[in-house]
């Protein structure tokens, strides 16, 4: 007689290691030209930083240095803001809207033409799998430019009888998780509405923003309309505190968002903040189970979990919890973690050493708190920053790993019994950016979307983005919307 444990083992699929292994299939980097040093992009020119200081940007998958990046200080930011103001006053605000649109279209087209180059650089600098930068980040960035280019000369139709007017100079600070895509989310609507821009990419992922600067220079966009200054927190603070900036757009952590909010209090600067999240992904008993498992995987392991709207808290209704978890564990074994440039890689490198330390800190916390720790058995490269897909089963609402944003491939799993219970638990968090609902029943979806306090709710899918769709949060996930018609409003006065 086989024992239960043996029987269970017999029924295991053993998906982890296959006798039919996929051979390495790395994307070529031979077409990539990276300069040893990148300068600041101010007033249409690449200029050295006033301090003469540079910092390294590295490939998180190999820990090798890719290039040196200029560090902008207050003086440089002031130069950039002055250039943006001059361009706003003299050129951009006076230009007929349809001409503005043509420039934005041109940026979109150039981006599409150079999509391969941008994809590879995004993957080298940020660690995300080439499949994602190739199929999602870069095409979506180009689509944002296309979409907002179309609005440029139609603002009066977007807001009938309201006389929309541009604000002036926008200071934009973006995160490291979707470097080029976030730049597009910020720059495209700002330009379409007639504003000029000073943008700061995150310090670990400056390269595609600087390549975008080269592309913008090639596009013939008037000098000073887009300025890109690189650096870390100090550079960002210089933008936030600069008196001649009319609007701050920030995507990043809730802590920094709060600092920004304090800094601009009483200044008359408009702001949109897109901050952290800890989204509930809710699986009901009548959900399409196999597709929901895909949705769980896509929700938390997309971009190594470095996604503010990641479905990091899984709620499974008790009747299907066993089968969902079993399927999820089997699916985990088929995820390929490793070289981000390999076309078969599902999960790439963690963006930085610091972020890996944060994730590992939370994994330790989770273990101590007593949730059941589970990781896929996959091998990970010895060099570079990598983390196996991780689950915390039987987690509870009072665990820190459930309450706090980890920003990595770590999923907590809780079960629930009733609709009321799951709504209460899903909303019982300071964040409110996104959520997912999985059920075959339409009426249940509408009930949930009414009651969940989240800016974006996906039904029977997860992590879907489109330029036409507004994105943004409730509560400590920030305010203001990016994307769609709503994304125009923060850059306009009426």
């Amino acid at each position: 007689m086989a024992t239960t444990a043996e029987k269970k083992k017999q029924n295991s699929l053993g998906l982890g290691d296959s006798k039919w292994a996929y051979a390495a299939s790395p994307e070529s980097t031979s077409h990539i030209n990276l300069k040893p040093q990148y300068e600041l992009f101010i007033d249409g020119k690449f200029v050295k930083p006033s301090s003469g200081k540079y910092f390294d940007t590295i490939n998180p998958a190999t820990e090798e240095k890719l290039s040196s990046i200029a560090e902008a200080d207050e003086k440089d930011v002031d130069k950039a803001v002055k250039a943006a103001r001059k361009a706003y006053n003299n050129v951009w605000s006076k230009m007929p809207a349809k001409e503005r649109g043509k420039y934005i279209y041109r940026i979109a087209r150039l981006l599409q033409e150079r999509a391969r180059e941008f994809s590879v650089i995004e993957t080298l600098d940020g660690g995300k799998p080439i499949r994602e930068s190739r199929d999602i980040d870069i095409p979506l960035a180009a689509n944002h430019f296309f979409y907002y280019a179309g609005w440029s000369d139609k603002l009066e139709y977007a807001f009938p009888n309201r006389k929309p007017q541009s604000l002036g100079v926008a200071g934009q600070i973006i995160p490291w998780n979707f470097p080029l895509l976030m730049a597009a989310w910020k720059i495209a609507p700002a330009l379409a509405t007639g504003n000029t821009v000073v943008l700061k990419p995150a310090e670990t992922t400056s390269l595609t923003a600087l390549k975008l600067a080269e592309l913008i220079a090639d596009s013939g966009l008037p000098e000073g309309v887009v300025n890109i200054v690189t650096g870390a927190g100090r550079t960002g603070a210089a933008i936030v505190n600069h008196p001649d900036i009319d609007k701050i757009a920030f995507t990043g952590s809730t802590d920094v968002g709060k600092l920004i909010q304090k800094a601009i209090a009483g200044t008359g600067k408009k702001a949109t903040l897109e901050l952290g999240g800890k989204a509930a992904n809710i699986i009901f008993e009548d959900a399409p189970i196999d597709q929901a498992v895909e949705g769980i995987v896509n929700g938390i392991f997309f971009n190594q979990g470095h996604v503010c709207c990641a479905g990091s808290r899984l709620f499974v209704q008790e009747g299907v919890a066993d089968i969902v978890i079993r399927k999820l564990k089997d699916r985990l074994e088929t995820l390929i973690v490793g070289d981000p440039l390999d076309k078969n890689t599902d999960i790439g490198a963690i963006n930085s050493k610091q972020q890996l330390a944060t994730i590992n800190k939370y994994i330790e916390i989770g273990k101590k708190e007593g949730a059941d720790f589970y990781q896929s058995k996959c091998s990970i490269p010895s060099k570079g920053y990598f983390c196996r897909p991780t689950l915390f089963l039987n987690a509870s609402q009072s665990h820190r790993v459930v309450q706090e944003e980890i920003f990595g491939p770590v999923l907590t799993i809780q079960t629930f019994r009733t609709v009321e219970e799951v709504i209460e638990k899903a909303n019982n968090i300071p964040y409110g950016l996104s959520a997912g609902v999985w059920t075959d029943k339409g009426s249940k979806i509408f009930n949930m979307t009414n009651k969940l306090r989240a800016g974006v709710i996906w039904a029977n899918t997860y992590n879907k983005f489109d330029p036409t769709s507004p994105f943004g949060g409730y509560k400590e996930s920030g305010f203001g919307r990016e994307g769609g018609l709503h994304g125009l409003m923060p850059y306009l006065k009426f």
């Binding site: 399409p288 597709q291 949705g295 078969n344 899918t461």
Partner: protein, 307 residues
């Protein structure tokens, strides 16, 4: 040879059948399609694919001559290349089973026969059983039956179930492949339900199509069927085979099917005991690709025998 089961078969509990979201299935399939299979893994995959083919001829104009030639091809796919497997089986109408069996003697290649008023299945139970008996008595190792789609769409699930169970009994030790003809079932939820009926009624394999209806095998349909097999395995520990058939004509598409198989059911199924391709022209495309991997250049189609 497998022993006949003596357990009592019952209809599956459909209240436990998960719903299927077509958009989600298509997304998953798209992910399999982006897997990049190169170099040695490509060669390995192609040879595996070759060994899983049920080389098929199911035409009204089939003759002894045609079947003989096909049998020779099955055993000698491309003799100028070393280290090639044979196909898994030759699939013919019942009247050619005896001949195929004789032709394939000693090759290890199985003979599969369609039965049960293939392809429409529009006949009486009696005729279907006697069709099956004829095939098995003629020496068929495997029987490819069709389900009664009309009865299924009318909701007569127990009719469909009983019929499959009866044919299974008539098969004796021959393995039974149950063709769902998914092109006529219209929804993935129906595909899931029909798969469950077939599996619970004793199917050794479930198969997408006859090849006479369009669409034949599609990747979304195949994924739903694989997931049904997986759920059954989770529950019972029993393996059921899968055979997509019709429309799989290129090596590239065959590799995508194998990627789906590998990532859904895993290594246990990566053998022709549990997975088949029902195809007529696939073999030559795989051979052409293998030759290309060996020589670095493509050869003219005229270097590969067309039987």
């Amino acid at each position: 040879m497998r022993k006949q089961s003596t357990t009592i078969l019952t209809l599956p509990d459909f209240s436990k059948t998960p719903t299927i979201d077509q958009v989600g299935v298509e997304e998953r399939v798209a992910r399999f399609q982006t897997r990049s299979i190169k170099k040695e893994s490509k060669v390995q995959g192609l040879k595996l694919g070759l060994s899983m083919i049920d080389l098929t001829t199911l035409e009204g104009k089939d003759t002894e001559g045609k079947v003989k030639q096909l049998c020779y091809k099955a055993a000698h796919l491309h003799d100028v290349m070393q280290g090639l497997p044979t196909v898994a089986a030759v699939c013919v109408y019942p009247t050619f089973v005896k001949l195929a069996k004789k032709q394939l003697e000693g090759t290890g290649i199985k003979v599969a026969s369609v039965a049960t008023a293939f392809p429409s299945g529009q006949s009486t139970r009696k005729v279907k059983i006697s069709d099956t008996h004829f095939a098995v008595d003629s020496g068929a190792d495997e029987v490819d039956m069709v389900i009664s789609r009309g009865e299924f769409l009318e909701g007569n699930y127990s009719y469909v179930f009983d019929e499959i169970a009866a044919v299974k009994q008539a098969c004796g030790t021959a393995r039974l492949k149950v063709i769902l003809e998914t092109g006529e079932l219209s929804t993935l939820d129906n595909v899931r339900r029909a798969s469950e009926i077939a599996i619970y009624a004793g199917a050794d394999f479930i198969k997408t199509s006859t090849g006479k209806i369009s669409p034949a095998a599609t990747q979304p349909v195949t994924l739903v069927m694989l997931e049904t097999i997986r759920d059954y395995y989770y529950k019972t520990g029993k393996m059921v085979g899968m055979k997509p058939a019709g429309g799989i004509s290129t090596a590239k598409i065959a590799l995508q099917y194998l990627v789906m198989l590998r990532e859904t059911l895993g290594d246990k199924w990566l053998t022709n005991e549990w997975y088949r391709f029902g195809a007529s022209s696939l073999a030559n495309d795989i051979l052409m690709q293998l030759q290309k991997e060996q020589d670095g250049v493509y050869q003219s189609g005229d270097y590969f025998s067309k039987d």
